[in-house]
Symmetry: C2
DNA sequence: TTGACATAGTGTTTTAATAACACTATCTAT
DNA sequence: ATAGATAGTGTTATTAAAACACTATGTCAA
């Protein structure tokens, strides 16, 4: 069923940079390509945008189809339009980045897509198309955004310790943080609710568990509050 | 000369939110539409992306064709992909925002396009398509970005006074700033070069003229410097 | 020529935020 | 009982931000 237009049109795709945190390490979800071009090469999950779906919908559909991911944090990143970024024809790609609570999704992702794998951010293989460039853009965005918006919680399990949170920030920002100053600051926002539970792993003192309070964040935001690590 | 594809494709456009500063007021450049849909309605300058040009090139071409603008500050903003944003068919638009030194361009713009006009940001008419929404996004971006990147200078003439600069920030941020603190801070960056000239307008003390030093900014940026008003 | 007017230009103090820094607490496993 | 490992806790010094008022220098009109 062909479709005809007066002028040539670019194909439109979405590509998703999916970040996860695994054992304190920042990881990236990649799909191994089954078809040419770049057959066998690792690539960002993504695909063509259908005419009856929005861009966000397309990104979420591809995440579900290719990686079994649902209900993740997703935000538009940038649109890549270099003329020769796809060797076949003109393809413009709207890139997204997603933050995944790996604790929730690990099991599923493993089953849904055999060709999907998590790679440490420090050890990403050669990528198809201009995906390396998209990844670089996403990392820069993540580093910028994590400072003034509480999106880091999207990478942690619902219940987490302050040490886990600090470690997350250290990994993303690539810098060591002072433990006392970090805890003081992050608690001062009153966005973290201490739970009655503690986490006991390893032979040492158990750690207090917290959860992030998104409702409270929304309220504070309306009052002109500014999260800033 | 028709072009045929296996699946239906969205049309791809660029739209530009063009800001200028005129007599201390923030203004927006709009084009009056000659064709349906929204004939006669004001709209952001923009148009279809050609298959042989990048998105940035398309945006610059449209700015030149529709408004006679060249060599302006231009940055990608966001890509708008609601399914029904164009009543004719599926159209995805990559939005840009541009900052124009109105002092340079006013004369040209007036001649090149009779149907182009500058509107005060506080008094924008009804707009075609979802352009009001694009404008809102652009304003939010401008307000955010102006704080930590020296893009404000793109709106001022090459030579400007500190009062003009302060007024610009006050207009964009919608807040009054303390004169002494502002001057102290902005001069502390050492990004402004005092000129040997002064500006004499009105019956009062003439003001020192400065220019922005982009080279110095690039150097400082590499050293991890952070512009932040 | 003088004075009214309008904007340019200039420092200090107070307050708040950030940065630097080291020890005690509590659990497990041997 | 203790060694080992991470959790948890305050104070001081330093730096940045905010608050604040007067003098300087030009034009223009009387």
């Amino acid at each position: 069923m062909p479709h005809t237009y007066q002028y040539p049109r670019a194909a439109l795709t979405v590509d998703c940079v999916v970040f996860g945190l695994d054992e304190g390490e920042l990881k990236l979800l990649l799909i191994q390509r089954g078809l040419e071009p770049f057959q066998g090469r690792w690539a960002l999950p993504g695909g063509f945008v259908r005419v009856e779906e929005t861009l966000d919908e397309a990104a979420r559909r591809e995440l579900a189809e290719e990686a079994g991911l649902r209900n993740v944090f997703l935000e538009q990143l940038y649109t890549f339009g270099a003329v020769d970024r796809d060797p076949r024809e003109r393809v413009v790609s709207v890139a997204y980045y997603a933050l995944v609570k790996l604790s929730d999704h690990r099991a599923k992702a493993a089953t849904d897509a055999a060709e999907a794998r998590w790679f440490p951010i420090s050890d990403v293989p050669r990528l198809a198309f201009d995906h390396r460039n998209i990844l670089r853009t996403a990392l820069a965005r993540l580093q910028g955004k994590v400072r003034y918006q509480p999106i880091g919680f999207e990478l942690l399990p619902a219940k987490f310790t302050l040490s886990q949170l600090q470690h997350l920030y250290e990994v993303i920002l690539g810098a060591e943080l002072d433990k006392r100053n970090f805890r003081k600051k992050v608690l001062s926002f009153e966005l973290l609710v201490p739970l009655k539970e503690t986490q006991m792993i390893g032979r040492h003192r158990p750690a207090q568990l917290f959860r992030f309070d998104p409702d409270r964040y929304e309220k504070l935001k309306k009052r002109g509050f500014n999260f800033e690590l």
